[in-house]
């Protein structure tokens, strides 16, 4: 446990000192949403209808853009192998790495989602449903994206490849996430979509942790 918190602290500190690279996803999300609203001609009735799917898309794409930051630095400079030699196994590295990735690259997007929902004139119930669904999807999105990052981390130009790999895996989470966001306004917390989304998210985490560990092992040739 000490090891996991050390990794988390190190990653957060590194992100804070990186000169703002952790915020690139956030900037991308704002640009994407702005361009979408402009492309839809600023028509408020359309934007109100499309706000939830567009914010989901923005979160997904912004996270995918950061996928190659998940493990690549550690793999390339040999930290992954050194940690393994120091008795910090690949499973622990995978778990803490996925959590740190979500914390740094995904959580800011979710926290600021209510702010961007103003652009689409969403009502408060929809915003509550949206944020709740995004939080439920948090483990799943972070896990699949970080897995793709671990798979491609050893490569020079892994970014696009990471998007290729994780985007198809994220499809069910996207489907149920949008459905759950919109279901809250109608059925409240009892909406079955929330449970389906939580299940998918946990399934993604359960599959991704060992797969990420295996990818880290393959990348360090163990």
């Amino acid at each position: 446990m000490i090891g996991v918190s050390t990794i988390l602290k190190r990653d957060v500190k590194r992100a804070a000192r990186s000169g703002g690279t952790w915020a690139y996803g956030l900037v991308f999300m704002v640009i994407f949403l702005t361009l979408s609203a402009i492309a839809l001609d600023g028509e408020m009735s359309t934007l109100r209808r499309l706000g939830v799917p567009l914010i989901w898309l923005a979160v997904t794409f912004a996270t995918l853009m950061s996928a190659d930051r998940a493990f690549s630095e550690d793999i390339k400079d040999g930290t992954t192998g050194q940690l393994w030699l120091g008795g910090f196994g690949y499973l622990e590295q995978a778990g803490s790495g996925i959590f740190a990735f979500g914390l740094i690259h995904l959580l800011p997007l979710i926290i600021t989602a209510p702010l961007w929902s103003v652009l689409f004139d969403l009502n408060s119930e929809t915003v509550i449903g949206l944020v709740a669904a995004l939080l439920l999807a948090f483990p799943g999105i972070a896990a699949f994206t970080a897995l793709a990052g671990a798979l491609t981390g050893g490569q020079g130009k892994g970014g696009f490849l990471a998007i290729f790999i994780s985007a198809p895996l994220l499809v069910p989470i996207l489907i149920f996430g949008v459905a759950a966001s919109q279901a809250y306004a109608i059925t409240g917390w009892a909406a079955v979509e929330f449970r389906a989304l939580a299940g998918l998210s946990l399934l993604a985490l359960a599959v991704s942790v060992p797969a990420t560990a295996a990818a880290l092992a393959a990348n360090t040739d163990r």
Binding site: L147, L151, I165, A211, A214
Partner: protein, 251 residues
């Protein structure tokens, strides 16, 4: 299990494939040839679909084989991941392109058949969406092989992708039960299912067996090709270095 370990030896594999490859290839040619004749000429048009039912003899086997090929890739990846049999990687890799091609074929013929049958080229129903996702997974799997330079590492990473991506196969299979879709539920494979009349079932089965034989041919032939390539590479590395001495005259 013993069979897999037996074939993991390249020399033994080549002895096996010397006979198995041509058998699979000619079988595929014969079955698809006869199947095409039967499905185009001898089988009657169906009552509801008319002549367009003939699309089924391409569409359904292609969809079956796209899933079968992916499952075979996942199993071969598991074998390579657990027992580190290098040949299993070659088998998985050789199946990726035909599998993706069958997926594409299923999507295209489905679209062409959907127009006369349902009045639409494309609908975002559960089965079409999940098969499209399967195509993307195939592309990601092949991209890993292409981008990672070291073959051993590429094999391990691609195997992980293949096994995680297999999650999509049950979604495709059960999508017709879970969501309201245009596709009909399982017609042939489950007990108590309605089934097909013999004159429609025969060409379908001929084509399905032919496609499967074609997949087997691709797997065997691709593995043979990769073995030959590795051999020629090794021959080049193992060749004794030769030094040529020349007299250089300085003016």
């Amino acid at each position: 299990m013993r069979f897999i370990s037996y074939l993991a030896n390249p020399a033994r594999f080549l002895r096996f494939s010397k006979y198995a490859t041509p058998i699979a290839g000619w079988l595929a040619l014969a079955l698809i040839g006869v199947g095409t004749l039967v499905s185009l000429i001898f089988s009657p048009p169906a009552i509801e679909h008319g002549q367009t039912v003939r699309m089924m003899y391409v569409h359904v086997p292609a969809a079956w084989c796209s899933m079968a090929a992916y499952t075979a890739i996942a199993v071969a990846s598991l074998v390579s991941f657990v027992w580190r049999h290098n040949l299993a990687d070659s088998v998985a890799r050789s199946l990726a392109l035909p599998g993706a091609a069958f997926t594409f074929l299923a999507l295209v013929t489905g679209s062409l058949w959907g127009r006369p049958a349902w009045g639409t080229w494309w609908q975002w129903d559960g089965r079409m969406t999940s098969v499209l996702v399967l195509l993307f997974i195939y592309i990601g799997y092949m991209a890993i092989w292409n981008i990672v330079a070291d073959r051993r590492q590429a094999a391990r990473l691609a195997a992980i992708v293949a096994m995680v991506g297999w999650l999509n196969i049950p979604i495709i299979k059960f999508s017709v039960n879970w969501w309201n879709t245009l596709h009909q539920p399982a017609t042939i494979s489950e007990p108590g299912a309605p089934g097909l009349p013999f004159e429609l079932l025969l060409p379908l089965l001929l084509m399905a067996l032919g496609y499967t034989a074609l997949l087997a041919w691709f797997a065997l032939r691709g593995t043979e090709a990769e073995l030959a390539e590795l051999k020629s590479q090794r021959a080049a590395t193992n060749k004794p270095a030769s030094v040529k001495l020349e007299t250089v005259t300085h003016d």
